[in-house]
Symmetry: C2
Subunit: 455 residues, 2 copies
């Protein structure tokens, strides 16, 4: 491994678009959560697939690690340069290449953010629904198999990436998938790269599935006396097959944080936030049925609104909940957990987690995409107090153990990165070794995001 | 490679459950379509995962090929024993293991057929929607990434397999996926094995996603003066986001075949057959909107029915269309094509295919799952006339070329097997080499269904 030789060659190739400035390195070594800063040796700003391919060839020749970077909104340390090397900032590959409205698909470069894409789509009557909260890049969202508030209706990135262009560790460029809606033509390479977290290749183009902008949207919020009512209302809604487009849970501590941060006036109780998409008739019918369910589970009823501004306020509030919770304790860092269990086990998983957090003495509001069985506790720790981080890690550890025991997963949507790697053997058994074999087959020199995900 | 030593060891292990009877070998060497009979050297009937693992270990030691067998309904020669070896008939592993109604999932052994599963589910209010027509096994359906008439609404096997148990080439048993609805915990091994056609491992258990039996179902049929009207009605329906549960096309020749075979009285015109699932109100609303669309495209309107018996007759007829078409020419064999294109290219793809078949002089009715952009021509050939088979292969070849040029795939749902292997390099480019690298990583001795799918 000769990183310096690689950097010299890259500099000769990219000129100013290879940065070694301290601020650039530091920025690309940051984590949104509790991981220590681990900067790369350089940051490259490629502008074309051919450049990415050439960069990979140079790095392969010199054994230099390569880490792909989208918007840096990952929560599990995915982009930390644990072995140094070059971070590829894909931000300049940010063009929407081809909107095929009749086929409801779009081809984009990986640095396009989801908000930028939706702005571009506005006039077409179509939209890209996956919404992890942060304004992540689509390349990053594919790499981490992101989902978020709308997965309960529209699925995750797994379900909405039709095709990819990928640069492999040796610089070869492949295209996976086609624009056809389905195919049985061999191994599903698209699905293999979605969620591979930059360890198998660099995504340089994506073909995404679009959806029709709903004719009617209604959003609303309802409070419950206790979290059991809220969780059971979710379970019944899913089991009845009511097609809610979003169904989010905020516990009382999260509601309080949002009130303080955004000047809202939610009662300090567990809440469900929800949204319905459809025709005006179907939305009205579904709202009626959902209203019956929440009333049965002890909510005093819900407020809902068809007004765009009200909806925007509601979801902006939900999306800022992470920052609202961080603001509860100035100077704190967060450890964000992310388990996902079968829906029948959701009440048990939330209840045991609440009790565990209470016993730990930490602040740890709970919120999440409960329609999928997925929820997060945001554990707040003083970075200067090692005992607090240890307590938070212990809570997180028990949450994962609980999730696996209940038939769930260690990470519903945040990915493995550094934070969940230690659980992969437990979750997958020999399947983790198989992941290692696949990695070895496609990246035998371990150039691509080394130290992450695989054994 | 020492097949005989393997068979001796397998016989010592399995006793009577290793068959070398002529009729068994012949049956397991058959193809539903035009492929020559290629029987294995023996057929094993395992009853447990542990037995499959032990069989794989024995075969690995002796370098003996292993081919998994479900119901033998594959259309692309997937189960042909091109290098001899042992066929694993999974028919005895046919138990429904665990229905989790609250989570809408079920764990089954691979030899359970889709009809057997749905019979077992009837009282639960749930069903498994994927319907390729044939009463295939669920293991076989997963291995070929099957879909069929309901994919337009419920997706394919890709979308409905949550988790798998797989025996690898070296006998290791892994579990992929969990019962959680989503996960970002590493490479999507479930998606890798779905569609791998028995070349990466033997599926010994599946966890499947279930759906609620719709409250209301309506099915119907409408005739068009020309195929353009039918195809354009499909395109508009998809683009408007109308959630039809099935949307099938039969051309005039297919309609005539069905009339002759099943005593039906369809006008000899292009038809759409369709089905709606939902609440009584939503089905009525959708039927109204669909009626407007087909009328706009020149149909004289449709007949539809909520009666179970009428629906059963309609879909039995559709499912027997393959045999009805075969019966048009007694003694004929079929070459069944299977292309899938972006919906905006569907009219062009069908039109050019019709013209091509007409010019070839062959009988080749067209039908398919046009809601996905997927259709089949069933080319009838006299097996004693090599020139006819050559003409059919040439038509099929041009169809694939056309599909790829239009942004589609060589196979929408039938898989690669022997029949589409020659197109994989063209469809995937270097991606096919990547598939070969994955195969090499997991099955370095090329034991699992050799001669299929990969380079």
């Amino acid at each position: 491994m000769n990183i310096h030789a690689a950097l010299d060659a890259l500099e000769a190739f990219l000129g100013q678009r290879l940065s070694r400035s301290k601020s650039d390195l530091s920025l690309h070594g940051e984590s949104e959560t509790h991981f220590p800063r681990m900067p790369p040796d350089a940051v490259a700003y490629p502008e074309t697939t051919a450049e990415v391919s050439r960069i990979m060839q140079i790095c392969a020749r010199h054994g230099c690690p390569v880490i792909a970077w989208g918007a840096g909104t990952s929560l599990e340390g995915h982009t930390s340069a644990v072995k140094g090397g070059v971070t590829l900032d894909m931000g300049r590959m940010n063009r929407v290449l081809d909107i095929q409205a009749a086929d409801m698909d779009v081809r984009v470069q990986p640095g396009v953010t989801r908000e930028a894409l939706n702005a571009e789509l506005r006039a077409t009557g179509l939209f890209f629904p996956i919404d992890p909260g942060a304004n992540a890049t689509l390349g990053g969202m594919a790499a981490t198999r992101a989902s978020g508030t709308t997965a309960v209706r529209y699925g995750t990135m797994r379900d909405n990436v039709l095709a990819l262009e990928v640069v492999l560790a040796d610089g070869r460029v492949i295209r996976t998938g086609t624009r056809a809606r389905k195919s049985s033509a061999g191994y599903d390479l698209t699905a293999l790269f979605v969620g591979s977290e930059g360890t198998l290749g660099i995504i340089t183009e994506l073909t995404l599935r679009l959806h029709g902008q709903p004719e009617a949207i209604s959003a609303g919020v309802c409070a419950f006396e206790g979290f059991h009512g809220a969780v059971n209302a979710v379970i019944e809604t899913i089991q009845m097959g009511l097609p809610l487009a979003r169904m989010e849970f905020l516990d009382e501590a999260s509601a309080a944080a949002v009130n303080a941060y955004a000047g809202m006036t939610f009662p300090e109780k567990p809440h469900l936030l929800f949204e319905l998409h459809g025709s005006p008739d179907s939305v009205a019918e579904d709202a009626q049925r959902f209203g019956d369910i929440v009333t049965d589970h002890g909510s005093s009823g819900f407020e809902w609104s068809d007004r765009t501004q009200d909806r925007k306020t509601l979801w902006a509030m939900r999306h800022n909940a992470f920052y609202a919770i961080l603001a509860l304790r100035p100077g704190a860092r967060s450890l964000v957990t992310d388990i996902c269990v079968p829906i029948s086990r959701l009440a048990q998983a939330v209840e045991e987690t609440r009790a565990d957090i209470a016993q730990s003495g930490l602040a740890g509001p709970i919120l999440g995409h409960v329609g999928d069985g997925n929820f997060h506790a945001i554990l707040l720790v003083d970075p200067a107090e090692p005992s607090e981080m240890a307590a938070a890690k212990a809570v997180s550890h028990r949450m994962v153990k609980r999730s696996l025991a209940l038939g769930g997963t260690a990470t519903g949507e945040h990915g493995v990165g550094l934070g969940k790697r230690d659980y992969m053997a437990k979750e997958h058994g020999d399947g983790w070794a198989v992941m290692g074999q696949l990695k070895q087959a496609l990246d035998p020199l371990d150039l691509l995001n080394p130290g992450k995900l695989v054994p």
